[in-house]
Point group: none
C-alpha cells in the first residue's frame, strides 16, 4: 500500500500540479482547499504525511499544523512564501518537519517527501513510479529512460516533462500545465522555454513520439 499524502493548499493550480506529480510517483493523494477542510480531511483519512500551505483561508496554516499534530503525530512539510522566514521558524517550532519556499521545484518537493517518509520508516513506493507508454519506459526512482529498449540520457527537466506526457499518453498538455507541474509553480514566463525542452526531447527520443497540437500544446503519440 502506498503512503497517503494530504495536500492542504488553496491555490488550485499548485494543488493540482503537486497532487498529480505525487500520484505519478506512486503516492496516494488527497487534497483540501482551506484550513478547516484540511483538518477535517486529516482526521478522516489519517495521512502518512501532510503538505501544508501556510497561507490558507478559513484557518491559518500554523493553526492547521497544530490541530493536525495534536490529533496524531504526522510529518508535516510546509510551503511558505519566499520571505516568510519568520512564520517558517514558528512552523518548525510547532511540529512541521520541513519546509519549502515558493516557488519550489516539484523535484525538490518529491525528494523531501521521500526523506520525511523514510524517517518515519514508511518506504516510499518502489515498484511504483514505473511508467510505460508505447516504446517509452521510464522509472522515476532511478530516473532512467528507455526508448524501445535503448537507454537514453535525459536532462532533469526533459525527464520530468516526458514523465508527465507518458502518464497520460495521447492526452494533450498545455505549456502552462507542463511548466506548472515540472516547476511546481507557474511564473508566467517562458512558453518558448517549453519548446526548447521539447526540442531536446525530440532529439533524444525521436521526433515522431511527441505530437504538436497547434494552439494547445503537446502530447505523447501512441
Amino acid at each position: 500500500m502506498s503512503p497517503l499524502i494530504c495536500i492542504i493548499e488553496d491555490e488550485q493550480v499548485i494543488a493540482n500540479a503537486v497532487a498529480r506529480r505525487l500520484r505519478t510517483e506512486g503516492f496516494d493523494v488527497e487534497v483540501a482547499h482551506d484550513g478547516l477542510a484540511g483538518v477535517a480531511l486529516c482526521e478522516r483519512v489519517r495521512p502518512d504525511l501532510v503538505v501544508l500551505d501556510l497561507m490558507l483561508p478559513k484557518l491559518d496554516g500554523l493553526e492547521v499544523c497544530r490541530r493536525v499534530q495534536a490529533a496524531r503525530p504526522v510529518p508535516v512539510l510546509m510551503l511558505t512564501a519566499r520571505d516568510a522566514e519568520e512564520d517558517m521558524l514558528v512552523g518548525l517550532g510547532i511540529g512541521a518537519d520541513d519546509y519549502l519556499t515558493k516557488p519550489f521545484s516539484a523535484r525538490e518537493l518529491v525528494a523531501r517527501i521521500r526523506v520525511l517518509l523514510r524517517r518515519v520508516d514508511l518506504r516510499p513506493p518502489v515498484a511504483e513510479g514505473l511508467v510505460s507508454a508505447g516504446p517509452v519506459e521510464l522509472d522515476s526512482s532511478t530516473r532512467k529512460v528507455r526508448i524501445a529498449g535503448v537507454e537514453v540520457h535525459l536532462t532533469p527537466t526533459e525527464f520530468d516533462i516526458l514523465a508527465l506526457l507518458a502518464e497520460r499518453p495521447g492526452t494533450v498538455h498545455s505549456r502552462d500545465q507542463l511548466l506548472a507541474e515540472v516547476r511546481g509553480w507557474r511564473d508566467g514566463s517562458g512558453h518558448r522555454t517549453v519548446d526548447s525542452h521539447i526540442r531536446g526531447l525530440r532529439a533524444k527520443v525521436g521526433a515522431e513520439l511527441i505530437r504538436t497540437v497547434h494552439g494547445i500544446g503537446y502530447a505523447l503519440e501512441v
Copy 2:
C-alpha cells in the same frame, strides 16, 4: 536471539527513525509514545535496554526512569534537549547509564547502545545486516566492505552512505536523504559535504560504481 530495545519517545519522527536504524543493526525494537505506555511496555516485554526521551507526555522521563529501574535493573540511555544539562545530571543520578543530546547522530546512538549492552554482557547481534549489490558486499555488524571480493577500508561516514545506497541499488538518493540518514537528523546545509564523502567512496570502491544524477543526487550503479 537479538537483544530487545525499548524506545520511549513521543516524537514519532524520531522514534521511528531510531527504531528503523536499530532494526537494520539487527536489534529487536519496541516503541512507546508516552511515559505511562513506556513503563507498561517495559514491564511486559522486559527489554535488555531502554532508550528514553526526557520530555514525555503523561509521565516525565525521570519518573519513567525510576519506575523502570525499580522493577528490574536495566541499562537506560537518555535523550535530552541540547541545553537540559541539569535534567541530564539528575537522570544520571537516578539510574540512567548514558545520555545523548538532540540532535544526535544515528551512528553515535548505535555505538553507545553497543557499549551499554557489552557492559551487561549481552552480545550485540552478529550475523545480521548483510547487504550485497553487484560487486558490493557489506556487513553492518562488522562494518566491513568488500568490492568484488577485495576488502576495502571505509571511514564510518563512507560506510553509512554506501550502506544506504546499496540498500536500494539503482535508486537515486538525494543529498538530503543521505545526510538525514547518516547524521540522524536534519541539518539543512552541508550538501557539499556529501560530495566530499562521495569523492572518498569513489576513490575506494571505484568511481564507476556511483552514478551522479544531475540535479537529484547519487545512486549505486548496477
